[in-house]
Every structure is written in C-alpha cells, then in structure tokens.
Subunit: 456 residues, 2 copies
Amino acid sequence: MRLGPLLGPDLEEILRTDPSQVTELAEELHPADLAELMSVLATEDAVRLLNALPEAPAVAALDELELPRRVELFGVLDRDRAARFANLMAPDERADLFAELPDEVRTGLLARMEQEEVKDVRQLLRYPETSAGGLMTTAFVALPGDMPVEKAIEEVRAKAPETETIYDAYAVDPNGTLLGAVSLRDLVLGRPGEKLQTLMDPSVVSVGPEADREEVARLFAKYDLLAMPVVDLQTRRILGIVTVDDVVDVIEAERTEDIQRLAAVEPIEEAYFATGFLTFVRKRASWLILLFVEEMFTSNAINHYEWVAIKVASLQLYYPLIISSGGNSGSQSSALIVRSLAVGDVTLSDWARVVLREIGLGVALGLILAFIGFFRVTLPFPFGLGNPMQLAVAVSMALVGVVTLGSVVGATLPMVFRRLGFDPAVSSAPFIASMVDVVGLVMYFNIAIWILRLQR
Amino acid sequence: MRLGPLLGPDLEEILRTDPSQVTELAEELHPADLAELMSVLATEDAVRLLNALPEAPAVAALDELELPRRVELFGVLDRDRAARFANLMAPDERADLFAELPDEVRTGLLARMEQEEVKDVRQLLRYPETSAGGLMTTAFVALPGDMPVEKAIEEVRAKAPETETIYDAYAVDPNGTLLGAVSLRDLVLGRPGEKLQTLMDPSVVSVGPEADREEVARLFAKYDLLAMPVVDLQTRRILGIVTVDDVVDVIEAERTEDIQRLAAVEPIEEAYFATGFLTFVRKRASWLILLFVEEMFTSNAINHYEWVAIKVASLQLYYPLIISSGGNSGSQSSALIVRSLAVGDVTLSDWARVVLREIGLGVALGLILAFIGFFRVTLPFPFGLGNPMQLAVAVSMALVGVVTLGSVVGATLPMVFRRLGFDPAVSSAPFIASMVDVVGLVMYFNIAIWILRLQR
C-alpha cells in the first residue's frame, strides 16, 4: 500500500489545523501502515502526528518505523514525550534506536527513562547489531520447570501484553538456566497438572549472543522456528529470544546488502530516494576509484606489448571481447561460490575440489566461446572481420585461457576473502573482472607472439 | 550441523546389516537433521533409512527434504509405502513433490492414495509454484464465527495434529467466506463465552492465489505475520494459508536467484556439488554466449575507427580502462534499482526522477575518475604513461561520458525489463556492461577525433 499519495495532502492539512482528528487513523491503520505514513510525511508533520496519537499506537508505529527515520524523529521530539515512548518500545527495537542516536539525545533520554528500561538498553547494547545478541529481545516468558500447565497458561496470559511472543515460553531453573522450550501449542494440548518439565522440548535449538545474524537466519530456515533463545554459552542462562519477524527482516536486509556488495556498492540502508546525493557518490566512488586504479594496469600491459600491437594492428579489435569474457565467467563463478558459502553448501576445506571443477567448467565454456570466436575472426563481413586464420587461433586460445582464469579466480577469491575474515561478497563481479582483465591481456599478447611467431 | 562426515560410515554399515537399529535415531534427531542425513547418504542407503524408520518421523523428514532429492527418493521407493507417505505429508510439500514427479510415478502414487489427499493434490497443483496458491497449505483451522472461545480452543486442540499451525485459526461463515483471523493468543486471552466474531481481527491481511511469492514475502515482512490466508478474490472463500516458515525459505531462494541472475547465471536450485557438470555448463553457457555475441560489436566499432586507431596508436592503451568504468558504474546503478524495485522503494512511474538522478550521479562520479585518469595519462612513468595533454583530455571526457551512460543504462534497463514483464534482475551487470562497452568505445573515438582534430 502506498499511502503517501493517497493521504498526503489532506492529512497534512489536518495535522496543521486540528491534529486531534488523527486519533481515528490510529484505530483504522495497522501500525506498519502508520509507520509507512510517518516515513513519507515531512519531519515536522510526522512529529505532529506522533504528538497527536495516543501513546500505544504511536509506540507500535515507532517499533515498525525504519531505523534512520526513527533516529531522526527521536532527535526532534519533545524529550519527555520521547522518553515515555522509549520506556514502552519493544526492547530490541529500542536498543537499535539507542545504538544510532547522537550522544546528546541518548543521554537526555536515558536520564528521563525508568531505571529498569535503562538497564535493559545498556544490556542489549553490549552486543554488535549484527549478532544474535543485537537481534534479541528481553521481552520473553520464562517459567519454572516444575510449574503445572494450568498455572503456566495463567502466567502466559498475564505477561502477554508486554512480551514479544506468547507462542514460545521457556522453562528455566532457579538460576535462569534454560531447561527447554514450551510452546503455547504444548500448553494448550497439555493435560491439567502436567509439569512443564515433562512436556517441554529439552533439545531446543539455541545460540550464543555473539553468533552472527546470518547463522541465526540459517537455523530459523532449517528448523522452521518461530523464536529461538539466546543463551550465555558458559552458564546456559537465557539472555533473550530472537523472533521470526526480525529474522525475516534480517534476511531481506542481507539480501539487499549482498546485491549491493556484489555490484561494488558500499551497503546503503535507506530507500533510493531517501538516500542523499552525496551519500550515493561516497558509497559508489570508493569502489569505482579502487576498480579504476586496478584497471589502470591494463594500460601498462598494452603499453608493454606496444611493439606487438603495432606489428599486428588487428589485435586490438579483440581486447574488449577477450577481457569481458573472462570477467563474465568470473562473475558467474563468484556469485555461485559466494552464495554456496553463505548457505553452507561449500566450505573452505572444499577449495581444491572447487578449483578442479572450475578449471573443467572454464575449459568447457572457453571452448564454446572459442568456437564462435574463431568464425567471428575469420569469416568475411558481415559475419566476421575477415582476419587471417592464425589470428583466429590466437584469439580462440586466449578465450579458453581467459575464461578458465576467470572461473578459477571468481571461485577462489570469495574463499580467500572468507579466510581473511571479510564478507565473501566483497569479491564483487567488477573486482574480479578488473583482476582478470590485466592477466587476460598479457595472456593474449603472449599467445599472439607465439602463434604469429612475432619478433621484436 | 554437518552430519555426513560424523555419522556416515557407521550409519551406512548399520543400514546395510541391521536397519532396525535406526529407529533410535528418529527419536534423537530433529526431522530437519534427519532430512540433512538423507540428502548426504547414497540413494540406496537413504531408501534403506526411509524403510527402516517409523512412518511419522519418515514423513516429517520427507517434508523437510530438499525437493530434488525428495523427487528422486519417491521414484525408487516401494510404490505402496511411498503412497502411504504421500497421504501423510504436509499438503504444500506434497503438492511441490507431485509437481516435479515423472508422470509414471505420479499416476502410480495417485492410484494408491486416499481420495481426499488426491483431491487436495489436484487442487493445489492448479496454482503456479511461485504463486501464493503454490505456497499455501490446506491444513488450517476454520471455525464458525459464532463459536464461543472455549469451544474454539477445543476444536483447535482436536485439529492440532493435522494442521500446519495452530497459532492462527480463521473465522468463516457457512459458505467458507473469510470473516477474520483468530490467533491462539486471542483465544487464550479471550473471556469464556465470548464469540469468535467479537475477538477476531476482521482486517486480516490476505492475498489471492495468483499473487506472486515476492509479494507474499513483502507482506509478511511488513506486517510481521506468522500466517496469511489465501482467498478467492471473487467469493472471499478461504482456500488455504501460507505459513512464515515457508516464507523464510522463499526469501532465501529468491536471494539465491537474485544473485545468480545478476551475475548472468540461469537460476540453479541444487547445491554446488549436487549440481552436475553439464547442468552448470548449460546454465552458464547460454548467458556467456549471449554476452559474447553482444560484445562482438566492440570489434566492429574498433574496426570502423581503425584509421583513428592507426593515427594515434596510444588510443588503444585506454580501451579497457574506459569501457570497464562504464560497466562498473552501470552495474552499481542496476543493482540499486533492481533492489529498489523489488522492495517497492521505486516504481516504474518514478523513471524520470531516476534518470535525472543517475545523470547527476554519473557526471559526478565520472568527473572523479576523469581527474585521476587525466594524471594517469599525462604523468611520466612510473605514475603514468607520459602521453600528451590532448589525449588526456579526450580520455577524461570519454570517462565522464561513459560513466554517465553506464549509470543511466544501468538504472533504466531494469525498469524496461519490469515493464516488459521480465524479472528486472536479468538486466545483469555483465549484460549492461556489454551494452555500454560498444557505445562507450564509439563515444571515445568520436571525442578523440574532435579533440585531436583528426582527419582521414
């Protein structure tokens, strides 16, 4: 639903004249739609809307609002009202907010908030944003293992308004150590008098707070989870839970990041039109410059073999064809391996098998292109350029070499990056292409020297 | 967890000598782990395992097993046993299986299955695999709107073993028309005697069976859903529900597909090592050939301007540098727009704003590269190639032109593909690069003719 164009002008009018009318809106709209509205309104109108709404729907919408906008609004809201909102927000969304707030706003809010909420924020901020600890919420239901079912249902009922999900509760011992998961399904299906210990799932899948969010997403996908506890790996105390709605958001965010990285753009979190011109320039220029500098070596390569290029002027006709074929095959291999590494189909220890496979694939694909290339070079116009047979042989051989090189480099570079602790997706298609371009040209010149028996 | 290496040899031994021992395994392992085991075992061992397991865990594992393997196993299992498994499988997983089974196996199974299950398979197979109808399951709880809470809880309890989720039930009228959603949370929190009509959510988000799975995923992400009803858009009758675990799988699958498409690989569903050599060649060769043919026009371009290239031999030093800069900037823009179109940040009607923005970005980024390029051309070795000032001006101007061209083509092509009804992601980085290469070279030659005042 694109609310902006529909509600925009009228709503702005109402907000400026009689903001109290918008309370109805809160009843009609889903918090996610209310959040969407806040993200398309001008800042001052969004603040008017937040001030006019009752607290509960305002907080629900803030929980859904995209982070950069949320940070912006908290910076301009009345500090006391903002602190009340912060007290009521979902712990995980609140922690994300505080991680991004300017220092001055953060201290101002923390000074006005309830003690317990301040402690909660501090605790959650200990973990990196992209870790399980950074994703988790502290609003979950923990129950003693010896509690009977009917009592547990009552506890769950009572805690429902302030917990993130009531579909999964957790049985703990008096120290808070996780004993097992108790789903609402188990509770509803349980016999009266039955203790949690006997109906819980003791082999519940859990992670430590430092686990990467990609790993968390993988476990949710594999085990079809709705929620997963995050536990201290030493004491097994339960620290919080991650819920599936946040995991869906994580996967969508990682998907955007993958695509941007693979296209050599520094990750951009905001929407296309919400991102400033200078931000775009910055996020794109750094990679473009790096790739440009990398690609400069092609000029050196051509310069070095200038005598060859002067002797056989037609060589230059095929520079782009040859180097782009290497780049294309490299970008295919790198995409396949980046994704296989991410889902765990391929691990670093498979490197030798991968290299062997890519050599085979590169040779097979290179031969196909070489076959087409051969006719392209020798056939007369309009199908080809009517160049001599020997040049065609040199171009064809160079194609096999460069496509194989591209395949191998494209497949191994992501593994090297993973080994060095970087995101394999930074070995983007353009990055691989520029590497392959230089070596590909050198290969082409040397094959030409050999086949055409050239001498200085 | 990588079970293969751990359990492999011993387990194979047991399966071949005394398969009855594996029943314990079924109690210890999560169905997802059992499925992982089946996917790493040799086919005959996986069949032995399936035959040795009790029916319930065997079916649970089959529901989790990746589709190509599932199809393979159903092809070799004893037909009667396979039909019993099929009767018990989750309706959505079963439909996916039947969509892929060879005709002969499918008819053999349908002839042996229960009438009701056969009808269910036929109904679900009416919808394309990538639609909401193809994702949905028919195992959901529908209850009359005037049913009181305590009765509803009992119904939910009774139907729990055969439904996909009990966390969302649906209130319907006698014709099966959807009235609203009733979550288990609502039921547990409801007062005895309260009717479903009063506690249900009447504005539940739903889709038609033809909706694309990307749209389904977008709604789940936006509204933090656990399940969503699929309704006939005319009659509003509820046809099935989509559950969040399948949506997580969809997003992961789409993520893989995006990455492959953007790197010019036809989507490959199976794992890297599970995909055959020839499949890889086929999925990669089609695109490589297309790009190769597209790139051939660069040879024509250079051939056409051969007189220029002969007069100023140093022109060729910068072919790769210039064309790759256009391709890089194009791949950045296309990735940004492909993703923005997918999440809905940019729509087709925004095209003019996008083009204007990309022109601005292209010029800015092009100027940055032109600045570096200028010194690269003029400075003496080792920093540059010591070429004359005029050539440097030509190279710099060509860089601004080609980077802008890349930006604009990269941003508009995905929109054109969307308009024509294709997946915007097929406007992959390599595809855009090849287009930009040809035009970029022509631009470079013409700028050189103009700046260097060349004449035939």
